[in-house]
């Protein structure tokens, strides 16, 4: 039963004065999907969400909800509901009144209303809190009231603007799991705004990475992490090392760049590159390995002679900073797969080593 898309944005622009807060954004969000908008603060995530909710009207482009044009429909006529970052619970109403508000506006009969409010509170495990006021509840509980208040209306799409931003680390992790399982149960499309890449990776079916009002890449968490299509995404999601150079060789999905030092490095190209073009090699610290110079086998990996500079033991991993030349150091993470107290057998600062990496583990990116 493919009804098309839950939400469709086509070339949506939003200008505040001269500035384009959202700049020609095109997105298709599937029914039942947990979709995240991820990007640094000020990149236009909230503005995009607010246009979907109806609090802002686009300066250009088209916005559809289940195929119905919605760009100019006022918020109270849209089949979407929002969970606000600060929850925006009505302080002069009890929890039950807060949750009932949307149903009252729709003139749901009293008997049905009570049952639905109760069911919504049960769903977020706040059954005993109906008569409390928001100020008498903890941050996590308020968060769940906000969820119940939105979900009780059975929206076609639920919009969440950094809903976990105000919670402490532990509660945040719990709520991530709870939100995810809730979404599974209710089967509603969630559009989730966050600037926390780990949160987006953990929870989302798909992610749109935004910067400066533009969508740079849309993909599953794996695609976004393993195959970023541009430098910004590679940098913003997870950790990486960048090495600049020029493309000197190019063959279907791989390319080789040459650094100013004359090193030749080969990697995968998510997007085609041209010979002679400036490009950057992106190498995730956990995808490289350090070997003794004598162990280097040039035939199946690219190699870089380096010197070990600093070693940081963090339990699960050991993080090694190696020096490539006067200007540049690289990070390499090795998993501590062996249980031993003997750190002498390990790398020592000043030691010469070779960094090896199969071409499929490195990416050649432009811009």
């Amino acid at each position: 039963m493919h009804k098309g898309y839950a939400i469709e944005l086509a070339n949506v622009v939003k200008r505040f004065g001269e500035v384009a807060a959202v700049d020609h954004v095109t997105l298709q969000i599937h029914d039942g999907e947990f979709f995240s908008l991820l990007g640094p603060s000020g990149c236009g995530k909230t503005t995009t969400l607010r246009m979907i909710a109806g609090f802002e009207y686009p300066s250009g482009g088209e916005l559809m909800i289940h195929g119905r044009p919605m760009a100019t429909v006022p918020p109270h006529h849209r089949p979407v509901n929002t969970v606000f970052q600060s929850y925006a619970l009505f302080p002069h109403m009890t929890v039950a009144q807060n949750v009932a508000f949307g149903l009252k506006m729709k003139r749901v009969p009293r008997a049905e209303l009570g049952a639905r409010v109760q069911a919504a509170l049960d769903m977020v495990r706040l059954a005993g809190f109906a008569e409390r006021y928001p100020r008498q509840m903890s941050g996590g509980q308020q968060q769940r009231v906000a969820l119940a208040r939105a979900l009780v209306n059975q929206p076609e799409v639920l919009l969440l603007d950094e809903p976990l931003g105000a919670l402490d680390q532990k509660l945040r992790k719990e709520m991530q799991l709870e939100l995810k399982s809730l979404q599974h149960r209710v089967g509603i499309t969630f559009i989730f705004v966050t600037h926390d890449q780990e949160e987006a990776l953990t929870m989302s079916d798909r992610i749109a990475v935004m910067n400066q009002g533009k969508v740079l890449q849309v993909g599953t968490p794996t695609e976004i992490y393993e195959r970023p299509t541009c430098k910004f995404v590679a940098d913003f999601i997870g950790e990486t090392n960048f090495i600049e150079g020029t493309v000197v060789e190019q063959s279907d999905e791989y390319a080789t760049i040459q650094t100013p030092d004359g090193l030749q490095l080969r990697g995968y190209t998510p997007r085609p590159v041209n010979l002679g073009e400036a490009a950057t090699l992106s190498l995730r610290p956990e995808k490289a390995r350090l070997v003794l110079p004598s162990h280097a086998r040039p035939e199946d990996a690219f190699t870089m002679p380096v010197h070990v500079e600093m070693i940081t033991y963090i339990g699960s991993d050991t993080r090694i900073t190696v020096r490539l030349n006067e200007r540049r150091t690289l990070d390499v993470w090795e998993q501590n797969t062996l249980s031993t107290l003997d750190r002498n057998a390990y790398w020592q600062p000043g030691e010469a080593a070779v960094l090896v990496c199969p071409p499929a583990n490195a990416l050649v990116l432009t811009e």
């Binding site: 909710a53 006022p74 918020p75 109270h76 600060s86 009505f90 508000f101 949307g102 506006m105 939105a150």
Partner: protein
Amino acid sequence: MIEAQPQNKRAQRAASWWPRFNSGALTWGRLTLTLHAFLMYLFLYGPIFVLVVFSFTRDEFGVRWTGFTLEWYVRMFANDRLMGAAGNTLYVAFVSTVVSTIFGTLLALAMERHRFRGRTGVDAVIYLPVVIPEIAMAVSLLAFSALVLEFIRVVTGEVVRRSLVTVIIGHIAFSISFVTIVVRASLKHFDRRLEEAARDLGANSWQTFWRITFPMILPGILGGALLAFTLSLDNFIISLFLSGPGTSLLPVEVYNKVRRAVTPEINAISTLMLAVSITLVVLSQLVQRRR
């Protein structure tokens, strides 16, 4: 070294009570400051206390204590002219409060919710009635009303005099500003996302206003209304200039009596007016600090 700790503790406890910038024992500076504050409150409330006490004295000059009586209150309530004036005063205060509260609240919403060209100018017009001397406003309204009444006489041939209507118009003119200022303060803390949340949940803008915005700023509106009511009850200068023949207001009556001499009857009226004002101020504090 051994004694340091208990001394410190005492100093800390004292610090929450006494000026902090010289934490430690009681100093002359601190003592002076406290004594000064005590004297200032005595200064502010001493005369009021004296006034209240001397409204119960038997002394017919009302300036010395010669025994307790309620006679002056009885006389006051029996005085038709005074009671008429009190009725007029309440009526003026009621009407001007209703009108100025509505207008002032709308103005406050406009000023806090919108950015527009000329906003600074509007701001100035709102604040001006608060800062200029009341007599300037009073004489200008007097001159203006004379002009308008003369115009009415020429056009319709009917002689219209200044009355409670002119007083009410004047009271509204200065009350609007006070209401606006109080309501604006309550709108400053208002989280507009609450309104968006209501819209999001299916309320139109009218429902959003009455179910969310209005209940939230109601304390501010009530506070503004109480202030307007009090200011109107107490207003003397504008009332003096704008009331017409035969329409007397309580503060004007008191003024006319007071200019002659101190009498225990005036003490009684004054005490009553004080009691009303203080009740209203306490009420307004309760209303605005609720929640």
